[in-house]
Symmetry: C2
């Protein structure tokens, strides 16, 4: 038989396999509490409403909902999305600025392919979202990191790096940020920093990707306005998803950006998958119209708040003074910074084998200076009580490894 | 406002906008019979069965069907697909060789990105499927065409071109073929040519993409075996779709290939869209299991056979001796070759404006020697009676333009 891989094109060198997956294979066949992945809790998903929606689709929209649809997204769905975004405080000029995608991942892939050429500089959060780092890598970007602390990405660091790289003659095009309930740290960028970041984008002629999977179900009343809403120059490419506000199974995301950027993404998407599932689009559209997205968001808020509390309370009880972490106002994650002598990758192996708990070591999320003593903990999937048990077991191990004093 | 397009990466130069779309805009606001597009007839789609399936999913598979799923496709769905393919005469080694994609288009995109580097030679059918030509173009392939006649792609031409290009030191990797009910010609490759093509692939160490959207509902009993089934060396990358055997709205396709090729496609798909809609996969799986795909195929066969007959009979009545065409054994299209003095692009404008009929000029489907006197006619969407009217009107125009003698 022919070995297919010897036919691979050189660009496959830019596709990185995840080494975390290899470590997490240790969990197979064991009874492990996973604080690693970021799966939504299925209790959040709608149920019977989906049967009603399917009946309505078959009776009223069969000829369009089951058919091919425009690459940019079904027109009535984009219009409904426009209303949803407006109602939720995201400034939208027109539904012409919206493109429906096969999940946020595709929004990132398309944006990176359209905008980032070989050697172009992209500023990413340090630590930042791994799947975004991967698409920029495939686009052959040169990535630099801007530190994230409890107030989000630091614009001063962004400016300093952009200034230096521009001085060196590099083409700096794009800043990638997940400003609300960031993956992996759980931190949210302050209003002041948001404004500052937009000023920098304007001064240095940059675009900003605002990746926003989590903002619709924050646990506190107070959240800063969207970068997209603060932006007056059309520099922000806003992207979000139905995975957290309805269900991942529809596999739908969208991008809201200046129409000229959307046009490039649309031309490319025509080759990538022609369009996203029409049926999914009609299900999501009906779910917005019937208030099912709103009720899903309410369930998400209640369920994930309880779980966040379970995790953060346990960390406070067990690890105060021995480690630091963010208290996320939304999303699925927090990042724990351990004593500098602890290597979280090594800790993970012991955590799985001796304590039956898994997490993701934080170093994978860095593009420049890796912090080996960090771990990302997710509270989205296991029940609150299981989260408490898992976090306690992990804390036992951390205490054991933390040097005295 | 910032003009986003000035941030485009150079690779966007390899994305071609369709000029046909521009011409077809002439149809807007007019009452035009379209023999241009290839939309399935919605009478083929399942209806009430979809409501039952959604109820079953919500009751029995909610936690998996509405959730994220593996990049390669939901495991039970891949297993069901394996059975479906076996039952339909496509040789499958194992479900490990199957990757689920967001439509055939994505199968082609992933295969091209994984296998074709800048300057690599891809042999395509002349005329061939436009969307495939586009993805190879984006992968920066050098394309050469192998003539298609009423017996499909000519392997002698493939060999001649491969030999010459290899002699020139070019890297020839891939042959792309749509061997059954080809788009745009409607022709089907004979068994003899299929065998010959596989011999050539073996001799010159090539891979073959067998793009197969139409074979499941051929109108005649007799159809040649799949390239994939004849292949003993793992050189054939087989790809198909649910768009014609269930409905386009699920936006699902698949590729069946040697596991090493599937692995590359999977790694890339992780970045492109992470996975295809899980809900669509469960709907398609249930549709296979409940015999709904089988009954959809039966409806498709009956409906499209009647329409093919309507088109071909009208052409025979009106244009015998003035033009030539294929009698397709399946699929949605035939291609008509007109008198060499007729330019089908110019004809299209007149056809729309004077006769209220649209088609796609054939020259777009060629990569080397464009035949300007060809037009692709589709019979998939309009009712049979409308097809007859459209074809008659078009024939009037053709008669008018054909020089005497």
């Amino acid at each position: 038989m022919v070995e297919g891989s010897r036919f691979y094109a050189d660009r496959m060198k830019n596709v990185k396999a995840s080494d975390i997956r290899e470590i997490l294979k240790l969990t197979e066949g064991r009874d492990v509490i996973s604080l690693a992945g970021g799966l939504p809790d299925p209790r959040v998903f709608p149920r019977e409403e989906l049967v009603d929606i399917m009946r309505a689709i078959v009776e009223e929209s069969l000829e369009s909902a089951l058919q091919y649809s425009p690459t940019k997204g079904a027109t009535p769905f984009r219009e409904t999305l426009r209303g949803f975004l407006s109602d939720n405080g995201v400034r939208v000029r027109s539904s012409d600025d919206i493109i429906v995608t096969t999940g946020s991942q595709q929004s990132l892939f398309l944006a990176a392919q359209v905008l980032v050429g070989p050697g172009d500089v992209v500023v990413v959060e340090e630590p930042g979202y791994l799947a975004a780092i991967n698409v920029f890598n495939y686009a052959q970007a040169r990535m630099v990191g801007a530190r994230v602390d409890e107030h989000g990405m630091d614009p001063e660091v962004v400016e300093e790096k952009v200034k230096r790289l521009k001085g060196e003659g590099r083409k700096v095009k794009l800043v990638y940020a997940n400003p609300t309930s960031q993956n992996p740290t759980g931190s949210t960028m302050t209003l002041e920093r948001r404004k500052h970041l937009l000023e920098i984008a304007s001064r240095y002629d940059l675009l900003i990707i605002e990746d926003d999977p989590y903002s619709f179900f924050t646990f506190e009343e107070d959240k800063p306005p969207y970068l997209k809403t603060l932006d007056t120059e059309g520099r922000v490419i806003y992207t979000s998803t139905f995975s957290k506000i309805l269900m991942p199974g529809v596999r739908l995301g969208w991008t809201l950006a200046d129409e000229t950027i959307v046009l490039g993404m649309e031309s490319l998407k025509q080759m990538v998958d022609l369009h996203s599932a029409t049926l999914s689009q009609y299900i999501a559209m009906e779910s917005i119209k019937r208030g099912i997205v709103a009720s899903t968001i309410d369930r998400a808020r209640a369920i994930y708040r309880e779980k966040r509390d379970a995790l953060i309370e346990t960390l406070e009880e067990e690890l105060a003074g021995l480690a630091t972490w963010t208290r996320p106002i939304g999303g699925f994650f927090t990042m724990v910074e351990l004593h500098p002598s602890i290597n979280a990758r090594k800790l993970l192996v012991e955590a799985i084998e001796r304590k039956g708990v898994a997490f993701v070591p934080g170093d994978s999320f860095y593009v420049e200076e890796k912090k080996m003593n960090t771990m990302r903990l997710s509270y989205s999937f296991p029940p609150a009580e299981v989260i408490r048990v898992g976090a306690r077991r992990l804390a036992e191990l951390v205490k054991e490894k933390t040097p005295p004093g």
